[in-house]
């Protein structure tokens, strides 16, 4: 997973180097990243709730280290491949938030569990629990397991209180499994733009979680960990008092999607954009537009379009004009010279990061560090 730092390494520590990168290049503003990490850590400490940031957003060992140094109990990974990379990078406490299925992957899960002090997996099916126990037995290492609960997204997770209790009991009695609690992530809630509407939807979703916690306690299986929430609901979910661990990930970077959501009751921006894509004008032959080198292989295309943070006149827009081409849309009479450098806010941070080998970490206008996107494409 060690990757070369790429063609921009020659610019490290050079004055004004931020604006001279070979593009498209992924940029992290270190001051803002540090501020975002500190703010979330401070919030969780003040609320006396554990923070386990989701590494699927950044896939970067160095950012995991910084989050843990700031107080996080560990990290989340979305995939087994991410967890393998992070474990090999020295991260000792990892929750894999997706069910792991298929004999090849279940074997690998047991192996990575045996390699670090604390790995936690999730399951939502009795057949899967059985296979996980068998794989843990094969390497003689107990696996901690959460029951994955559906609270309304209709994706993974058990769909009834009865199924949750059944699986928890199965885990509790399996010789090589340890019942660790419940995961309840409401992905469908994260991007409801209005705070009050999001809070109301989260309240409704939480009734499922409440019922499961009650039923588990009645069965003598009080969940040690109740984990969930994202950047859109962490503050709301904390208030409800059901969770003791938050999984938010996008807060480290923010993006165009989250910038549109009111994360806080007063709507104020709690975190600032720390992730940008830098691109260069490679063709400028038409009035009112300029063609750049960052197209749909340089940005996530599942969400909103990129917005322009700097380098173009106010009001300029961005659109994709091909796999490797973007277009800055200017007002009539405006133009951008060939070679002009533009920085865009990433449209959806997680899949944007997954398109790059490296982060170019800037301090002001200077390229200060280059970090690897270590778990890029690791499934």
């Amino acid at each position: 997973m060690e990757t070369k730092p790429g063609p921009n390494a020659v610019l490290l520590d050079e004055p004004e180097s931020r604006h001279r990168l070979a593009t498209p290049a992924l940029i992290v503003d270190l001051d803002t990243l540090e501020e975002n990490i500190a703010r979330m850590a401070g919030f969780c400490e003040a609320q006396n709730i554990s923070l386990r940031p989701h590494a699927k957003s950044h896939k970067c060992i160095e950012i995991c280290r910084r989050q843990i140094a700031a107080g996080a109990v560990g990290i989340c990974c979305a995939t087994l491949g991410e967890a393998e990379v992070m474990a090999a990078g020295g991260i000792a406490n990892i929750l894999i938030t997706s069910p792991v299925a298929g004999s090849t992957k279940i074997g690998r899960l047991a192996a990575v569990n045996a390699s670090i002090p604390d790995l936690i997996a999730v399951s939502d099916h009795v057949d899967n629990v059985e296979a996980l126990n068998a794989a843990a037995a094969a390497v003689d290492e107990t696996l901690k397991l959460l029951v994955d609960l559906d609270i309304g997204q209709n994706r993974t997770g058990v769909t009834s209180v009865e199924a949750a209790v059944e699986i928890a009991l199965q885990i509790d009695t399996a010789p090589f499994l340890e019942f660790a609690g419940v995961q309840a992530y409401g992905g469908h809630l994260q991007h409801i733009p209005d705070y009050a509407a999001r809070a109301a939807a989260a309240e409704e979703a939480s009734t499922r979680l409440y019922d499961v916690i009650e039923a588990l306690a009645a069965a003598g299986l009080e969940p040690v960990t109740v984990t969930g929430a994202g950047t859109g609901t962490f503050e709301i979910d904390t208030k409800r008092g059901l969770y003791n661990e938050l999984q938010a990930g996008s807060y480290v970077f923010m993006d165009v999607e989250y910038a549109d959501d009111a994360l806080w009751p007063d709507g104020g921006p709690l975190f600032d954009a720390a992730l940008f894509v830098q691109t260069t004008v490679i063709s400028a032959n038409r009035p009112g537009q300029a063609t750049t080198d960052a197209g749909l292989k340089a940005f996530a295309t599942d969400g909103p379009l990129p917005t322009i943070a700097q380098g173009a006149p106010a009001g300029a827009g961005y659109k994709f004009t091909g796999d490797e081409f973007g277009c800055v849309i200017l007002s009539p009479g405006e133009d951008l010279a060939l070679g002009s450098v533009i920085e865009c806010v990433a449209p959806h941070c997680d899949p944007t990061v997954n398109l790059y080998d490296n982060y170019h970490c800037v301090r002001g206008d200077t390229l200060a560090e280059i970090w690897c996107v270590d778990a890029r494409g690791k499934y």
Copy 2:
């Protein structure tokens, strides 16, 4: 650019291994790939036209080698980073189809030009031509250059006959540049689904190219190479007699986008789908649907949705339910067991390939080879 073959290497040559991969996994059907490569090579040979397949579709040295072995004159790359990888991999004849701008990248372009026998770049601006000449002079190696011509896409390229002639003359008289001809790619034409409508639009676009060729000839600058066309227009552009080199790329794999287009006058499929994404059912708790491990980080999201090629009941659909989650939509009463393996046709091949480290090359049901996506994310 040498990448580890990944966790599925243990399955090489095992019977039925195609259906036991750790997923999501990119699959290439070797029989179909070879047939597609041979068909396009045969077509170009019969038409006495050069083929220079676009490597942006596959980013794979091994596939370049096979295309050249089948008769291609060389390859196209969309980015300088791709060209660097391919040159280091032994590919000697490379056309970079996008203008290269910015001093860092222009210096790298001159360096890679000095490292292989035949590199060709494109330009559409006098300032860029001047910078390219200076960079070529600095390494004392002449650079071949095409004038990039806009034939209606409004992206890169010169927009007038006069500008084309001006730049061609500038190249011709620059001491370290060689005028190599014209590039005219009509990206806006490739996905007009109806053959006759696409042919009519291509005919209209070609008048711009015709006028430029005439004007260049009148100025004593007959273009040696006239290059362009894609999988959607190669047959039409060949008939028009203006091009002597085709740049089609997607034909090696095909995808959901091109499967909807009538590539041939009789509408028949000239090439077959060779590229698939394999995914596994990781949650099956709801009637009429199953959750898989291939979401919007496993497929291009700019085009149509993936279609299911095998592993699910006829009529099943696919949708994204998150970065790492997909959903197979089944008819009422149907279900798919946990661990079921599904293969989807890639929705848009180029940006789908860019999400993976490796190709899993299958011969029938056996994993026969693993190739690297060598130029993945190389900008």
